[in-house]
């Protein structure tokens, strides 16, 4: 039996990680995978760190990914990518939004947002893609679709074919926003070489 594909979605409360993980799970479900997904509610919603763990495979037991074993990380904010970097295996894939949200201790001047976060991550994990997802989403019509841009970029790395992603977007995204989000997904998909 193959080891499941382990995916981390990390970001800051309010960035749309939950919606992204819903689309991901719907696509994986359509593709016939067993799935476990784990997220933490509560305090995280008040601007705190948010992490969703998704595991896909023939048969998945644990809802939690083992530290150092994640295959893919989709990071909505660059500091969060650094926070969860130790969860990645060294030949894993990282897709990171080139976007910073300063935590309150940084805003208050009692902590520093580290410089060169992206350079550090690129050095440690060669399979790292950096995207300006907010700008790409803006060019698609709505900067809030940055989460779906990132998802599109990740789709390339996943053992789930394109049609299942389309089905998932159709079933999860409200009809009113579907066009923009489909555009955002394609833009993300095509942004990765």
């Amino acid at each position: 039996m193959c080891k499941p594909v382990d995916i981390l979605l990390v970001g800051v409360g309010g960035q749309g990680t939950i919606l992204a993980s819903k689309v991901l799970c719907a696509a994986a479900e359509a593709a016939g995978f067993d799935i476990k997904m784990s997220e933490i509610h509560g305090m995280a919603q008040r601007g705190g760190s948010v992490v969703t763990q998704v595991r896909l495979g023939e048969k998945v037991y644990s809802p939690l990914i083992e530290e150092g074993c994640a295959d893919i990380m989709l990071s909505f904010e660059k500091l969060e990518a650094l926070r969860w970097l130790h969860w990645m295996k060294n030949d894993g894939t990282i897709i990171v939004n080139n976007y910073a949200v300063a935590p309150v201790p940084v805003l208050a001047g009692v902590a520093e947002y580290p410089a060169n976060v992206l350079e550090y991550i690129e050095e440690k994990v060669p399979g790292c893609t950096i995207l300006h997802a907010v700008e790409i989403a803006k060019s698609c019509g709505n900067s809030k679709a940055a989460n779906v841009v990132l998802l599109g970029a990740m789709a390339r790395e996943m053992p789930v074919s394109r049609e299942f992603w389309q089905q998932a977007l159709d079933s999860v995204i409200p009809p009113k926003l579907l066009d923009i989000n489909k555009k955002a997904f394609d833009a993300g998909y095509n942004a990765v070489n």
Binding site: S38, G42, G47, L64, V104, G109, Y113, K124
Partner: protein, 587 residues
């Protein structure tokens, strides 16, 4: 048909399939979504009670009257419901009664991490522990069968990782929804000493029968065989064990109270070395010790926090049960320090100005449970203490009674939902015993922390119907408080003056700081704030508000227009008039 469901959604589905007629609860992470999901099923009546004790009493009345009844709460909520719970074991049920206790190992969103299997054992109640969403659904149905067959309430004990993890669940049709016949039976249902003594003896008989049931139930099952190592586990820990030791013999306990003692003895006898893998308390382990069964548990595995596959792998590797994999994760020992990202009061939160003012006035503040507990964290640090739901008022009263230092400078702060949960009796006590404390009710018109649930003062029920709206001012006056003031917490000068007046008053006062939660509306509170760079002295006073929209850029204040909610508190805090209302109300 199968659906990907969280444990909480699966429990709601299970209740629907089991023919539950009534469900009640009080919101609390990680239990809240059970009733939210259940309220969407037709033909099931569900309600938010003001607290867990009332919720259980509602469910008991419904059960006595013959209806299958579900009651949901977080682990500490069971403390509140403990009074009816412990005696309901004596009375037993008519329609089945299942209580979901959602425990929170690791305290993701809780003030303690008590293991409610211990509380269930104290109450002599059977405990089911699911390891997946599918099991969570099935165990609701099994719980109702046990409850009715053995005439006893059943505890379905889940943890955060079961409640908030998703997996496939097979959906089935519901059983028919029937109310059993009600027969008046004081010897069973009227717990006066004479009858309670009889029910106490009967309870032991029922527990003994449950012990036999536990030996037979398929949810206690042995997987695999190996004479070398055996593992006893339950709940989500089972999944972690399967992850790291897929081929080892495992005795998976779906029913952890009472334990299947005979089968555990046999299992222990079939392996050379026995491990017990359970989160939090050594609940299974200590019972095995009493039975004289040699097993290793808390000597190796921590009694605090959550387990994970990685934790189990490293512990089993140290114990020589498996070989540690070579290090395959990225080497990041030289990573730059990552600043924490703690949860904070939202932009535009009506609580922010209250805590800022209390801190400025150098008052002692007894706090309570809700979003506003975040007002105790840096940089605001406007709360001295927080223990449990409703504690703030009693604690302020006690502090003022004994300490000349605390007298006339202690304030209790409590949210609207928390006040109705268990603050009302504290206020009654304050009046009755001639306290002089000042109580601030932070009335944001919702139960915010758990995701905006309705309560008796919102004018709406869980099922979306209109309801009478509690008049909090009138209630406080009826309790005997003469000084009841209502203020807008975004008006800092009025707020400060009111607090000062009420602190000085030689009798109890209530200040209701009323303003809806900033997240209840998609519209900003007011025009976004801009910085007049000429006037800004870079003093940093605005940073003391801990607002996610405000930062210093090149020694001047900066307000992020996308984050600012236009509450205008910072405008009032700035001594130099450098923060001003923006021209447009939208960005």
């Amino acid at each position: 048909m199968k659906n990907l469901l969280s444990g909480n959604a699966a429990i709601a589905r299970g209740a629907y399939e089991a023919g539950v007629i009534l469900a009640a609860g009080y919101p609390g992470t990680p239990s809240t979504e059970i009733l939210e999901n259940l309220s969407r099923y037709k033909n099931v009546y569900s309600e938010w009670a003001p607290n867990e004790k009332v919720a259980l009493e509602v469910a008991l009345g419904s059960s006595f009257s013959g209806a299958r009844s579900l009651v949901t709460m977080k682990h500490v909520g069971v403390n509140v419901a403990a009074d009816p719970l412990l005696t309901s074991a004596y009375t037993g049920v008519n329609g089945g009664l299942v209580l979901v206790s959602a425990d929170d190992p690791g305290m993701h969103s809780s003030q303690n991490e008590q293991d409610n299997r211990r509380l269930a054992a104290l109450a002599k109640l059977p405990v089911l522990e699911p390891a997946s969403s599918q099991e969570a659904k099935e165990m609701v149905l099994q719980g109702f069968e046990i409850s009715e067959k053995y005439d006893i309430p059943v505890i379905l004990r889940i943890t955060t990782r079961i409640a908030h993890s998703q997996g496939y669940v097979l959906l089935k049709d519901p059983v028919s929804r029937e109310v059993r016949e009600y027969n008046k039976n004081p010897r069973k249902n009227l717990m006066v000493p004479g009858y309670a003594r009889m029910r106490r003896i009967d309870l032991d008989k029922r527990v003994e029968n449950l012990r036999l049931y536990s030996e037979d139930t398929p949810v206690n099952c042995i997987e695999g065989s190996s004479s070398a190592v055996g593992i006893i586990t339950s709940g989500v820990s089972y999944q972690y064990v399967k992850e790291v030791l897929p081929n080892t013999a495992v005795f998976k306990l779906g029913m952890t109270n009472p334990l299947p003692v005979q089968r555990i003895k046999e299992f222990a006898g079939s392996v050379e070395k026995l491990y017990i893998v359970e989160e939090l308390e050594p609940f299974i382990e200590e019972q095995l010790q009493i039975l004289g069964i040699n097993a290793t548990g808390k000597d190796l595995f921590p009694n605090t926090g959550e387990f994970s596959p990685g934790l189990l792998r490293s512990i089993f590797a140290r114990a020589g049960v498996l070989e540690e994999d070579e290090h395959k994760n990225a080497e990041i020992d030289d990573a730059p320090a990552v600043p924490g990202r703690p949860p904070v009061l939202c932009p535009g939160c009506p609580h922010r100005g209250v805590f800022y003012t209390l801190r400025k006035m150098k008052l002692s503040v007894t706090g309570d449970i809700g979003c506003y507990t975040l007002g105790g964290l840096p940089p605001i640090e406007g709360i001295d203490s927080c223990v449990c739901m409703g504690a703030s008022i009693g604690m302020a009263h006690g502090a003022e009674k004994v300490s000349p230092v605390m007298k006339d400078k202690t304030v209790a702060v409590i949210g609207d939902s928390t006040f109705m949960h268990s603050g009302i009796t504290g206020l009654l006590n304050l009046v009755y015993n001639k306290g002089t404390s000042t109580v601030i009710i932070l009335d944001n018109r919702t139960t915010a922390m758990t995701g905006h649930q309705d309560h008796p003062a919102t004018g709406c029920t869980l099922m979306g119907e209109k309801a009478p709206e509690l008049d909090i001012e009138a209630l406080c006056r009826a309790l005997g408080v003469n000084r009841v003031n209502t203020v807008d917490p975004l008006d800092l000068s009025q707020l400060k003056e009111t607090i000062k007046n009420e602190i000085d008053a030689a009798e109890p006062s209530v200040i209701i700081a009323r303003r809806p939660c900033a997240l209840l509306s998609k519209e900003p509170v007011g025009p976004r704030v801009e910085v007049d760079l000429e006037s800004c002295e870079g003093c940093g006073a605005c940073l003391k508000l801990g607002c996610p929209a405000i930062s210093m850029q090149e020694d001047k204040a900066s307000v992020d227009p996308f984050t600012c909610n236009g509450c205008g508190i910072c405008i009032q805090v700035c001594k130099f008039g450098a923060l001003v209302k923006g021209g447009n109300s939208s960005v």
